[in-house]
Symmetry: C2
Subunit: 315 residues, 2 copies
């Protein structure tokens, strides 16, 4: 199966490299450039493994799997505008190379192009699942914007934001793969729940890495979330530890605009146990993801999905 999985991954890459094209040359080029910069293609992998785990032929659903990555790419392109990011995945952001105008239009076009293809070629409820997911992603991002700088953000509210902005697309990737694989409602629900828990763990790890990783392996600046005054789980847990001195320091940093304080905040988060607590939450959601696979018949696809979740525990 490891070979088969490698093949699936290679097939997705080859689809992007050779088959993918839209009717607009500028947009195709901008998207191909984002795709060529790499990425783990986790969303299409989840889709293809869900097809396989549901008794379907994974290679027959490469396009559907590719759309999951392209929805992700379109949101990244719009994030570039939203966040004024200057690098993304280690290459220049679309917004920097082409300007905000083209970024907004490229993302819009990509969403429309995906929906145009999905509504033409996939049965109900696949188009509905994808559009509801996009609504969730945007809703989650707006909630995150509103929560910026809110040091009283609860763990529950953080998880709800992560669920919408990140996990919903993993849940949809698994659910649509399961639907097209032709399995029953209990298995579809199980695979969707897997994607949901996996996605929350994935976001938590992303937030952890923003603090512990080095810039080269991250492909973006370290402490970027702090720069943007986002409140993520390592900070929420560090604040929950109860040190008034640390909270005052964080409050001063979040109330200001300079970023020299970042190394001290990072050290503080670690000392207050924020990293350890985050790792524990990741482990909990990874376990939840594995448990969600219970209704899925044993086999290599199920094992690979469990492995994908387990890999979130590595650092």
């Amino acid at each position: 199966m490891s070979d088969a999985v490698t093949d699936l991954h290679a097939s997705v890459e080859s689809f992007f490299a050779s088959t993918f094209s839209t009717d607009n040359a500028v947009i195709t080029e901008a998207v191909k450039r984002m795709l060529a910069a790499g990425g783990k293609r986790l969303r299409p992998r989840v889709t293809l493994l869900a097809v396989d785990a549901s008794g379907g032929n994974a290679l027959g659903h490469l396009h559907l799997a590719a759309y999951m990555e392209l929805i992700h790419v379109a949101t990244l392109i719009h994030d570039d505008v939203v966040d004024n990011a200057s690098t993304r995945r280690g290459v220049n952001a679309t917004a920097v190379d082409y300007g905000n105008r083209v970024s907004v239009l490229t993302g819009d076009y990509l969403f429309a192009w995906i929906f145009k293809n999905v509504t033409a070629n996939y049965p109900h409820p696949v188009p509905h699942v994808l559009s509801a997911t996009l609504a969730d992603i945007c809703d989650g991002e707006v909630l995150q914007l509103q929560a910026r700088g809110d040091l009283d953000l609860t763990l529950g509210a953080y998880v709800e934001i992560a669920r919408r902005k990140t996990a919903s697309l993993f849940a949809a990737s698994a659910e649509c793969g399961a639907i097209m694989g032709g399995t029953g409602p209990r298995e579809i629900e199980g695979l969707r729940a897997f994607g949901d828990a996996f996605g929350v763990a994935f976001q938590m790890k992303d937030d952890l890495f923003d603090i512990v990783a080095d810039e080269r392996s991250l492909g973006k600046p370290v402490g970027n979330d702090l720069t943007e005054r986002k409140v993520t789980i390592p900070l929420i847990e560090a604040l929950a530890s109860g040190s008034g001195t640390f909270r005052d320091e964080v409050r001063r940093f979040y109330g200001g605009t300079t970023n020299e304080g970042i190394p001290a905040i990072v050290t503080g988060i670690e000392r207050q146990g924020g990293l350890a607590a985050t790792r524990a939450h990741i482990a909990r959601f990874v376990e939840r993801a594995r448990m969600a696979l219970e209704p899925i018949p044993p086999g290599p696809a199920k094992e690979e999905l469990a492995k994908l979740a387990g890999a979130l525990l590595d650092e």
Copy 2:
């Protein structure tokens, strides 16, 4: 019928004022604010009249009609980011009040919310027509960006851009109304062709007004297209008149960044016959729109559609 049409319009307004709401309060507020600023609601009118002209019950399709206006509103919200516009319909642009981040997300959410509802409640091919239309709109906007400052832009290329960025949504508004009204393929095609020709004439009139109207009635700055170095039909026709002196003046203006030259360019466009030629093209597309209604059985809805097109000849 005039009463009935007024009622349809009032019903759309009342839908926006009381029924319309999304799951995200910030987004609902931003959208309602755009809606409250007015607008002629031409797209929903075309949808409701097409339902009526196709033997359906117009009031049963208010939601569908509203989605046409909301797609338009979402593209305006994204245009605010794209064009750095500071006013839109006479009120502050979403981007100015809420920032680029919220504008991008609000437009994305609105697109997703519309597709979520349409895929849940409307039969094939309605969701497909709407997503293909959104792809056309973005494609047209990218083509327009690429054509900026291109003084050799042909009339044919201009019409193709107008067809995609503007007419496609009128064509979809008419087509989806006809589909839901339950008429035959020839009538659906006729109504779609009406929307297409109407939309091109509408865009030409918009471009004409950008040059001849005063700021108060336009709700945005006069000569805005010139400021942005767009090449629109009055200029294309004025350049086609063959005056080398005028072309040189235009070339200097388009090559520069200052806007003091705008009144002189406007006068030049008029002197070179650009306005008269534009009016003739508008009349041609209005006539084409009326001719497209030929397969539609006579009746008040057909008459109202013809009147809507005819109104584009008024100034």
